[in-house]
């Protein structure tokens, strides 16, 4: 730790001792009542505009009090994050730092004001098309290579990390930053796992004072996932299409309990390597041929296939990948290749907070006759416009699936 960092740590430790209860709670019972808030508002107006000499709350205290009254019923908020940790807050979060870009995207779906974010991961800064409003925000580095000095210097009141991804790296970040500034609150959310997605959105909505926005977003999310589930749940196990999923690394598939295995299942498919105990096994091409999948799904967007997505309008690369799979030795015997059911999908719409859009694409590919009315592209466009607040036209920009 550098000398500058140590100096910063000492001064922050001193400030941390100045923690307060609920602002404007005059009787100190940890509950801000309507009369207490009204008195605080009147005192503030009196002092600022009416020449009064009464001791008024600071503007920050008054705004925090208004937030707590409106969103937390005038009380402290106790929440449990996805790591199972319980935290009690007596102030709204005004200076948020995120190492987890997936949680930033989910927060944007909930209408988080960008000026409440003081630090983001380097991946956000490397994606100006999807995160234009955060270009210029402090760069925290990554979960694997954090910039501690930067993270401490922006004085966050909360730091968000992954709950189940890179757990040891996240634990190291938390430990180091806590030693620098004991006042920082740490929250662990994944924001991309189907099993915890809705609950995380609800919790974040409460935490950020965006309860109504969370309800609206989850209604949209539920509409999509429910439409898919309502159809595929009725398909008997023996009638489900068999699926071979491959990541951007050739022959690297998805095993039992992996995120992609879960998404195949949500879309009504049967993962041909779903019984493999390795989360992401490298499989033998012969094993794929012998299991003869009905559908092949190839994911691009990382590794040697780092193209496509929001910042790339060139769709030819997807076509090349699709053709290459069909040209693998003896793969023309596979039903999926023979029947033209090889699909390419970008990780942006299947691996992160947009997983439900990718799942809709999978379901449509698996059962085109059952999902004639489902339009994943329209779902995607609505998500971008209504919840991500991006002026981005999918008809003109981006490459996410092939064949489109």
């Amino acid at each position: 730790m550098t000398r500058r960092l140590l100096l910063l740590a000492c001064s922050l430790c001193l400030l941390a001792g100045m923690a307060q209860g609920v602002p404007c709670d005059r009787d100190g019972d940890d509950t801000l009542t309507a009369p207490e808030l009204a008195t605080a508002i009147l005192d503030s107006l009196d002092a600022r505009f009416m020449g009064g000499t009464v001791e008024a709350p600071s503007p920050v205290d008054l705004r925090d009090a208004a937030f707590i009254y409106e969103h937390w019923d005038g009380r402290t908020l106790t929440i449990t994050d996805s790591s199972g940790r319980t935290t009690t807050l007596s102030r709204p979060l005004r200076r948020i730092a995120l190492f987890n870009s997936d949680t930033l995207e989910m927060m944007r779906s909930l209408g988080l004001e960008p000026d409440r974010v003081v630090g983001v991961s380097k991946y956000v800064l490397e994606d100006p098309v999807f995160y234009p409003e955060y270009q210029g925000t402090a760069n925290l580095g990554s979960t694997w290579a954090p910039d501690y000095e930067q993270a401490a210097s922006i004085r966050p009141d909360a730091v968000f990390l992954y709950a189940t991804l890179s757990e040891s790296s996240c634990a190291d970040i938390e430990k180091t930053l806590r030693s620098i500034d004991p006042g920082i609150r740490f929250f662990r959310f994944d924001s991309y796992r189907p099993a915890t997605y809705a609950e995380e959105a609800r919790t974040l909505g409460l935490l950020l004072g965006k309860e109504e926005e969370a309800r609206r977003f989850l209604s949209f999310h539920r509409n999509v996932t429910g439409t898919v589930a309502g159809v595929v749940d009725a398909i008997p196990a023996e009638d489900r299409v068999s699926v071979y999923l491959e990541s951007w690394h050739d022959y690297k598939s998805a095993g039992k309990g992996s995120g992609y295995d879960e998404k195949i299942e949500l879309a009504g498919g049967r993962n041909i390597f779903g019984e493999n105990p390795v989360e992401y096994p490298v499989v033998d091409p012969e094993a794929v041929i012998s299991r003869n999948p009905d559908v092949i799904v190839k994911i691009v967007g990382a590794g040697e296939l780092a193209f496509g997505g929001y910042g790339d309008d060139d769709r030819s690369s997807f076509e090349t990948v699709c053709r290459t799979i069909g040209n693998r030795p003896v793969w023309d015997r596979i039903s999926a290749v023979r029947d033209g059911r090889v699909h390419i999908i970008h990780s942006d719409v299947i691996g992160g907070p947009e997983y439900f859009i990718g799942t809709a694409y999978l379901a449509k590919w698996f059962y085109p006759d059952l999902f004639t009315d489902l339009d994943p592209r329209a779902v995607h466009q609505q998500y971008l416009e209504e919840f991500q607040h991006l002026d981005y036209d999918l008809d003109e920009h981006g490459t996410f699936v092939y064949p489109a």
Partner: protein, 156 residues
């Protein structure tokens, strides 16, 4: 940066910020007997504050707003807003000052502020004047404060 990315960045730099509901307050002044009835109609200001400056010649009478959310000092009246959508108050004074009321508001959740201005009379009913709220609390507050200071200096 690849040229196509640069073009995209230019296209997408116009991000639509999460649209927060913009607050406003409309005032309707209606002559009644030997005084005036004032109705403030609040839109999208769940928690906030209002300072109304009464015209010269007007004296405060009463409000339907809770007493512990109202404070009167000279020609100025402060209202604490906690969930109310309408505030009615009454003053004694001549009917021809309907357009001379001045007021400012602020939304404590969004930080927005604005003016409850006199002027721009509309036609909400016989003998009534109305003015919509507009943004710019700092400016409005300064004008209100100047008006109050002027009255004070003039001994009014």
């Amino acid at each position: 940066m690849l040229p196509k990315r640069a073009v995209l960045l230019c296209i997408l730099v116009f991000v639509l910020a999460a649209p927060a509901a913009a607050g406003s307050i409309e005032r309707i002044v209606t002559p009644s007997g030997n005084g005036l009835d004032i109705t403030l109609t609040l839109t999208d200001i769940p928690v906030g504050g209002i300072v109304e400056t009464l015209p010269d010649g007007c004296t405060w009478t009463e409000a339907d707003h809770p007493e512990n959310r109202t404070r009167v000092s000279g020609q100025q009246v402060a209202f604490a807003v906690i969930g109310e959508e309408t505030i009615r108050y009454r003053v004694q004074g001549p009917p021809d000052v309907a357009e001379a009321f001045a007021g400012t508001w602020e939304d404590l959740l969004t930080g927005e502020s604005g003016t409850v201005g006199a002027g721009e009379p509309r036609n909400p009913g016989p003998g009534a004047a109305t003015a919509p709220g507009t943004p710019g609390f700092g400016c409005a507050a300064a004008i209100a404060a100047l008006a109050a200071a002027y009255r004070w200096r003039c001994g009014r």
